[in-house]
Symmetry: C2
Subunit: 263 residues, 2 copies
DNA sequence: TATTTTCATCCATTCTAGTGGAATAGCAAA
DNA sequence: TTTGCTATTCCACTAGAATGGATGAAAATA
């Protein structure tokens, strides 16, 4: 909300770097995605601490290109062109078609909610999902982004990184979850990430939503990088009853997807 | 708009206008999406006719921001950050949650493949989809983009525009389809678009894929703009057998979605 | 009402980034 | 070998982008 109050200490040279047009463009898009609803150009400028003249210019250019759209007289929102790249990126992920099949398979077998998740910097993103057959519903959806420390998948997604690097990402992005149960300490988190990744499984209870649990397994490529995760999202109660069976199923699905991209 | 016409008369010198960074960025992304596979920086530069020095620079900056990623030593591909905006754009479309419900509903009722489609400039994009229960499979997928003249939905998506404007879009983007059965004449297409939109229904057979048919209805907002379409994709044979029943069902679903965004 | 905040546009200044072209090297065909 | 295409980097030049600040109008608030 408030802009950058902590400007510079005495010794720091005021190298107020001029930003590139692409920087400003991405800052605008990020401001809108964070805010999650339309904003005026003026408000965007304030939110990112940029000169309004620059933002008005850039916004105009972005509108011309369909990266933004006017949602009312003065409010701006993301533009339709953004879909072009995002959706294509997803369908061309090399594991994606196989992952869809396995998702379906896992869903047939368990009847629970199944998700494929990936990482975008410090956030976990739901890439694909099938909802469970029962009445149990989760709030997440395809496209939902949450901090990595909220979920089992989030931790796995950093498990292949050197611990130091994972620590830094958790340090920058970890946030308290709505339930207050998600770990936020970077040291602990990076250790957990490494351990869970090594085990090929991560289980989590009520970290992000009350009485919601999650069983996740990593999808690793030939370089052992965690490209994505596949997971079952279910009620804590269900988890207690069927844990052994479900963990095995998730592991199998992950293995099947990995096999498809490793030849 | 028309600046560079008067300047030189006799010897036409190629006035290669300097492009903005955002222009170059989008050209790079478009080159990759069109090509549908990774390309080298050099190849991208040639594909868009830009100075290679510019492209190498821009590519470097885009890599830094996660808009591109290296898929091998020299090959570049779309970056994970693109998902951030694309998926959020979709999820926040005001009709989207209702549309998902109706999609599900229609699928339960018919058992056929159901799609929600939107428009990105001159292309139709599959925004969401549920596959049919039978063995009949279509090649399209969420994120698939095809020229507007190939599909029933494509025509509906331009139906609210003044005929002249629709004509221009068809003129720029209409292409022959794989089956050769899709209309390509802008005049005919714009008339069809208008008529189908007015009728609130468009039906198509084998225009884009052999023996594949489609029944589509427009989803219009308060301004009568066609925001998207909902459609049943099925075999021609099925269409012949159950046409009346299915058209009614699609109409009902579209109406339900429209009701949800029109209060 | 008066006053503050939001919104939008304009201008002069600074300096970045797009451009053209050259240089270099690897590789494959002729 | 020569030729030609791919691939990458470097440099000088300058169009035009980002900036800071000013100016007003409109809207919100007191």
């Amino acid at each position: 909300m408030d802009e950058n109050i902590a400007s510079k200490t005495l010794t720091e040279i005021p190298v107020r770097q001029r930003q590139t047009g692409l920087d400003r463009t991405l800052q605008i898009l990020d401001a809108l995605t964070e805010h999650e609803k339309p904003m005026s150009a003026y408000r965007i400028a304030r939110a990112i601490g940029a000169p309004s003249s620059t933002i008005y210019r850039t916004v105009e250019e972005m509108l011309k290109h369909g990266l933004l759209s006017r949602s009312s007289k003065r409010d701006l929102w993301l533009g339709p062109r953004l879909m072009r790249y995002g959706l294509l990126y997803r369908i061309k992920l090399d594991f994606f078609s196989e992952a869809r099949k396995e998702m379906e398979h896992l869903w047939q077998k368990t009847g629970e909610t199944i998700q494929i998740c990936g990482r975008d910097e410090g956030m976990m993103v739901v890439l694909a999902m099938i909802e469970g057959k029962g009445h149990f519903r989760v709030t997440s959806n395809v496209g939902t982004r949450v901090p990595l420390n909220w979920t089992a998948s989030g931790k796995l997604l950093l498990g292949h990184l050197p611990e130091q690097q994972a620590r830094e990402l958790f340090l920058s992005y970890a946030q308290p979850s709505p339930t207050g149960r998600a770990e936020t300490d970077p040291d602990l988190l990076s250790k957990q990430a490494k351990a869970d990744f090594a085990a090929g499984l991560s289980i989590q209870k009520s970290d992000s939503e009350y009485s919601v649990a999650c069983i996740a397994a990593p999808i690793r490529d030939r370089d052992n990088t965690c490209q994505a995760t596949i997971s079952i999202v279910l009620s804590e109660k269900q988890l207690d009853e069927k844990e052994t069976k479900l963990t095995a199923a998730v592991r199998d699905s992950a293995a099947a997807i990995e096999a498809s991209i490793r030849y």
